[in-house]
């Protein structure tokens, strides 16, 4: 105990003050721990999804004989098989594959922007940030289409009482399977989509500050790095959503 109150600077431990024990700035550290807490939120959604899905019966028959029914959980490749401009053509999971590719590419351009920031290369940061923003907007547009299609429904629809047919999905009914299926689709992809939206806003802010020379005057581009962490996290979450919602 006596040594910890010592004012002699020599021989001080890492945790005795004056240094960053985690080797990262305050802002970067806070971003990491924010992302950890955000990962808990997404995990909560995905764990609930796992619980509810595994408590429903799974479809066991052959894939080509699959029909939508509220009695079992639908198989994703028969729900997500539409692509814009190709009406009536069954292309299972192709569109969501394109979305995954877009998000991975925008993660790459983000990491290139961070790399350019380390080199104080303002022009390169501007270029890569612009590509990243474009990727984010492209992803959001795809998701808007995906949601529209999901809500309006596929050809078959679902027969409900009094001989009418229900098309598409809302939070109460859906034509694809149990009501929980659509609820989880809206909550999980919606929460992720909102993260992408906030990410695009933050990326735009960073781009604006780069163009106006804020970081050049500050002498470092650490903000690009911090928002970069957030953007990669959004990509990371999508990797899990893609697997657990669209593939499994």
């Amino acid at each position: 105990m006596a040594s910890s109150t010592s004012v002699v600077p020599s021989g001080r431990g890492v945790w005795d003050g004056g240094v960053s024990p985690m080797g990262a700035s305050y802002g970067k550290l806070m971003m990491w721990f924010f992302l950890l807490s955000d990962a808990f939120t997404f995990s909560a959604l995905l764990i609930t999804y796992g619980l509810v899905r595994s408590s429903h019966d799974a479809y066991t028959g052959p894939v080509d004989e699959f029909v939508f029914s509220p009695n079992y959980w639908p198989i994703p490749e028969r729900v997500f098989e539409a692509v814009p401009f190709l009406h009536g053509v069954e292309l299972p999971l192709v569109f969501v594959g394109i979305m995954t590719f877009i998000l991975i590419m925008s993660s790459v351009t983000m990491v290139l922007a961070v790399e350019a920031g380390h080199r104080m290369d303002r022009k390169a940061v501007e270029k890569w940030m612009l590509w990243t923003i474009l990727g984010g907007i492209a992803f959001l547009s795809c998701q808007a289409w995906e949601w529209t299609h999901f809500i309006h429904g596929a050809e078959e629809g679902k027969a409900v009482a009094e001989g009418t047919t229900f098309f598409g999905a809302n939070l109460v009914h859906n034509q694809y399977g149990p009501p929980d299926f659509a609820a989880f689709f809206f909550f999980i992809t919606g929460f992720h989509g909102f993260h992408v939206f906030s990410g695009v806003c933050l990326n735009f802010l960073i781009y604006y500050n780069t163009v106006t020379g804020v970081y050049q005057r500050r002498g470092h581009y650490e903000m690009v790095e911090k928002v970069g962490l957030y953007w990669h996290f959004v990509d990371l979450v999508w990797v899990f959503v893609f697997t657990f919602f669209y593939l499994v």
Binding site: I47, S55, I104, E115, R119, D121
Partner: protein, 108 residues
Amino acid sequence: MDHAEENVDVAVIPPNKEKIRKLWKVAGILGVVTAVEFVIAFTLPHGPSKTFLFVALTIVKAGYIVLEFMHLRYEVKILFWSILIPMIFVVWMLVAFVYEGMAISDVR
């Protein structure tokens, strides 16, 4: 005043080709793993082994994103473990709840 500051030239360090090539390599791996997942989705029958394979490939992708893109591999050890250890408990929770769900399905 502001105008004068704008003209201050900060030396731009030339790009490190090696480092950039490595980033594109990681991107390539992510793309290939996604493509493999696609092939598996349409070739293997639905079942536990397929799910296991998907989860394994997802962990590979997540690993590359966190360790390389988010640079966690190069951070101080204590930061690395502060992020990773809580997530291990989350994985445990996921397994426990999916197991619970299957038990509920049996009771129904």
